[in-house]
């Protein structure tokens, strides 16, 4: 092992692996590229740069886990980009990203279900808007969209509430696991040499002029880097201003969501979208890859970038809208209420800008489509870095990662006789609602990027994510988590 002695909270790295740290001072040696923000976009970029073994890359994150900001609380949809603004950067990157992520998900074990979407018209105005949306989809190179009359619609969605007049069917719209995706990127990046520094909030940036290093002042001390990429999501404008740019302002847009129990899953077959209006995309009802049903999001523009709480008004409003779309849904138990903040800006498109003189690239204004577009954004930013003067060096193919398959279409290990026979720990079911075994929890606690909290463990295993929310298993899961940390 050539790595320096283990730092506090670090996971021992194998040869060629980067390290994962959560505390203590940062390495003194300058990095070639530092990516600020380990959301889905930053993690994707770190992974992309890991293809170039000569680059020394750091991924720094203020929170204690990857994907902890906007990335963890979204609608979990893998978009086709059928409704993007034709010709925009977002439209292109979403389209490319959909293709790239679909392939990557299959390779890595990220759950995806290609359920398709229905844009449901509930009045004559909405019905009249559907041909225009179909035309827009065609201009976005999505040829599969097709109108459905009311009879066809109800045949596809028999539990839909009364009063729908017709719909536009958008094949290819899919649902995906929003937690496994950034985790797969970060895992693969670290295994190929990227250092992941968690609990590391960037508070200042200095230097970088005249060919010198940039120095990031962080809550864990200084970090030196030649190139800097800003993927700070909700805080991207703050970091941008530290480098002297007033390009955009992030207005956090809160989206509250309700997650319904898996018993609701049979009520819905597609992603049910409202016809978009000037006020936004509206409230959707969508299945999740884990077998739940999502209802949301609200869209509330806020000033507070930490306001991830739900409100009584928000939840009541969602239930009222959900009742019209899928009345039986409201009879089922809710297993989670949460809110995420989307990094909305005053601009209609992504704000991805290279500042070659500063060896600095901003990746701002990545909205709810960021999950879908992440791999395409990463490739785009890599090209921007190269065009700006970063010598990437030779590229290599990355060893695939194999993430635990948490989707409902894959049986859990406790249901696979061969796996239980090979390792009895997979037969010890700790979380009965989600059928999570002690073996899976053990595995998650020993991964390349291990969880630092019970919520992190839940996102990796589904333990405590079911209808009892930990009433049965919470204490036992916590015991396993704390044992592993002792």
């Amino acid at each position: 092992m050539t790595a320096p002695g283990p730092r506090e909270g670090s996971v021992t790295a194998g040869p060629g692996e980067g390290s994962v740290t959560v505390a203590g001072p940062l390495p003194v040696r300058p990095y070639d590229v530092t990516v600020v923000g380990a959301g889905v976009v930053g993690a994707a970029l770190a992974r992309e740069l890991a293809r170039h073994p000569r680059l020394r890359v750091a991924l720094v994150e203020a929170q204690d886990d990857v994907g902890q900001g906007t990335s963890k609380a979204n609608t979990a949809i893998l978009h086709t980009g059928f409704d993007a603004v034709p010709g925009s950067l977002e439209a292109r990157l979403v389209r490319e990203g959909h293709r790239l992520l679909s392939a990557y998900a299959a390779e890595s074990g990220i759950p995806v279900e290609p359920v398709g979407a229905l844009l449901v018209a509930w009045d004559e105005d909405q019905l009249a808007a559907l041909p225009g949306l179909a035309d827009k989809a065609r201009r976005n190179a999505h040829d599969g969209v097709r109108p459905l009359d009311a009879a066809e619609l109800y045949a596809r969605e028999p539990h839909l509430g009364p009063g729908a007049l017709g719909a536009l069917h958008v094949p290819g719209e899919s649902v995906i696991c929003p937690w496994t995706t950034p985790l797969a990127y970060a895992t693969q990046a670290v295994r190929h040499g990227v250092d992941l520094h968690l609990g590391c909030r960037v508070e200042s940036v200095t230097g970088g002029t005249g060919g010198g290093h940039q120095v990031l002042g962080t809550t864990r001390g200084p970090l030196h880097t030649r190139w800097l990429v800003n993927a700070a999501g909700l805080h991207a404008d703050t970091l941008d201003r530290m480098r002297g740019h007033e390009d955009f302002t992030v207005t956090p847009r809160r989206g509250q969501l309700l997650v319904f129990d898996t018993f609701a899953r049979d009520l819905v077959r597609h992603i049910l979208l409202p016809v978009p209006t000037a006020l936004g995309k509206g409230v959707l009802v969508a299945p999740t890859v884990h077998g739940n049903v999502l209802l949301g999001p609200t869209a509330e523009d806020l000033d507070d970038r930490t306001a991830t709480g739900t409100t009584a008004e928000g939840l009541a409003g969602l239930r009222e809208k959900g009742r019209r779309v899928l009345p039986a849904l409201l009879e089922e138990e809710v297993t989670a209420v949460y809110a995420g903040l989307r990094a909305a800006t005053e601009h209609d498109d992504y704000r991805i800008t290279a500042h070659p003189g500063q060896a600095y690239v901003t990746v701002g204004g990545i909205r709810s489509t960021g999950l879908t577009a992440s791999l395409a954004i990463a490739a785009h930013v890599r090209d921007l870095l190269a065009d700006s003067g970063l010598a990437l060096g030779p590229a290599r193919d990355l060893e695939p990662v194999h993430m635990p398959r948490l989707g409902r279409t894959t049986p859990r290990p406790c249901r696979v006789p061969e796996r239980v026979a090979a390792d009895p720990e997979y037969g010890v079911v700790v979380c009965p609602c989600e059928q999570v075994s002690r073996g899976e929890i053990r595995d998650a606690l020993a991964t390349t990027v291990p969880p630092r909290s019970l919520d992190g463990l839940r996102r990796r295993t589904r333990a405590r994510a079911g209808r009892c929310q930990g009433d049965t298993c919470g204490a036992a899961v916590r015991e396993l988590f704390e044992q592993a940390r002792r």
Binding site: T311, R415, P432
Partner: protein, 347 residues
């Protein structure tokens, strides 16, 4: 996958399941097997450390009561298998199970569902706010403190009967009962027991109780027929109030409460316990497509505890979520006789 056959398969080794199994084995039902996913048998009483189980004068603690039930079932010849989880149905009278010894299909001539009840967690009660650590139900709290000795926090707010008001409208009647009509008095007693258990468990963990928030206009602590009211001393009661928001990033920092008169206040705390609001643990019943009763959706049963599927019975807190441990045990005995009749008829 290996397959086995038994005469009666009981799912759930709580009071109802254990008593049913004990009776069945004693009365010659043949091979009687009880499964429980938990690592020990006894069900909810295992975690009730206070004295108050059993019948006077033989009142004992929950764990002692649980041990007695297990011993009786085993002496009668029933096989009690813990750490074995019934995952799903593999046929009309067959279940797929998982345990450290492997995945199995167990078929039976009769199946008794005794999977019990649990308290509705925060999310199902639609309590707004952040999602911090430090949020419990009484059940999770009891396991954390009594089974694992975990540190839960220092200052706890306990949310008692009527202490939450769902956003929008109620999804179902709280503390509702199903096929077996229970009285309002039983609901009140069950809720009071849960409040009592939460208070004693918080205190046993070394934390202090900041307040008991209840939507009732006066607390009914005196209604719980528990042996020991001492834990209630010094518990501030906040009556006519509901918890309207959880506060804090990462860890709970407080709960916002609203009084009936419209006033609101924040109670600083690092732990909150949602008690009562019992719902059946009906996962297997629903997966099996059994007819469910309205309300909180217990499996529908007739007077002989027969479900909509011949040979499948349901008993205990699964069909009456507010049932006390002795009531569940009595229901288990009743189920045993119905199962015996079924076995005789299907010979």
């Amino acid at each position: 996958m290996s397959a086995r056959e038994v005469d009666v398969l009981v799912v759930g080794a709580g009071p109802a399941g254990l008593v049913a199994a004990a009776r069945l084995a004693a009365l010659g039902a043949g091979r009687v097997e009880v499964l429980d996913g938990d690592q020990g048998a006894g069900g909810a009483p295992r975690y009730g450390a206070h004295r108050g189980y059993g019948t006077w004068p033989r009142v004992v603690t929950g764990p002692a009561y649980a041990r007695r039930l297990v011993a009786v079932a085993q002496r009668a010849g029933a096989v009690v298998r813990t750490g074995v989880t019934a995952l799903d149905w593999a046929g009309p009278l067959a279940l797929e199970t998982a345990g450290p010894l492997g995945v199995e299909t167990v078929s039976a001539r009769a199946v008794v569902l005794a999977t019990g009840a649990r308290e509705r967690p925060r999310a199902a009660r639609l309590v707004p706010g952040t999602r911090p650590a430090g949020v419990y139900t009484t059940g999770e709290l009891q396991r954390a403190v009594h089974q694992f000795g975990q540190h839960i926090g220092t200052r706890a707010v306990i949310v008692g009967a009527g202490g939450t008001a769902p956003a929008g409208e109620a999804t179902g009647p709280e503390d509702a009962t199903c096929a077996q009509t229970a009285t309002g008095a039983e609901d009140a007693v069950a809720a009071a027991y849960a409040e009592h258990a939460a208070v004693t468990t918080v205190r046993a963990s070394g934390a202090s109780v900041v307040a008991l928030v209840t939507g009732l206009s006066r607390a009914r602590t005196g209604r719980a027929p528990v042996a020991d009211l001492r834990p209630w001393r010094g518990v501030p009661l906040l009556t006519g109030a509901t918890v309207t928001e959880l506060l804090g990033q990462g860890r709970l920092s407080g709960v916002r409460v609203r009084h009936r008169d419209g006033g609101t206040a924040v109670l600083p705390c690092d732990t909150v316990v949602f008690t009562g609001a019992f719902v059946p643990d009906h996962t297997l019943a629903r997966r099996g497509g059994l007819t469910l009763a309205t309300g909180v959706r217990c499996p529908a049963v007739d007077a002989a505890l027969r479900t909509s599927r011949p040979g499948v019975f349901a008993t205990g807190a699964l069909v009456r979520p507010t049932a006390s441990a002795p009531a569940a045990a009595r229901a288990g005995a009743r189920a045993a006789h119905a199962v015996l009749a079924h076995l005789r008829d299907t010979c």
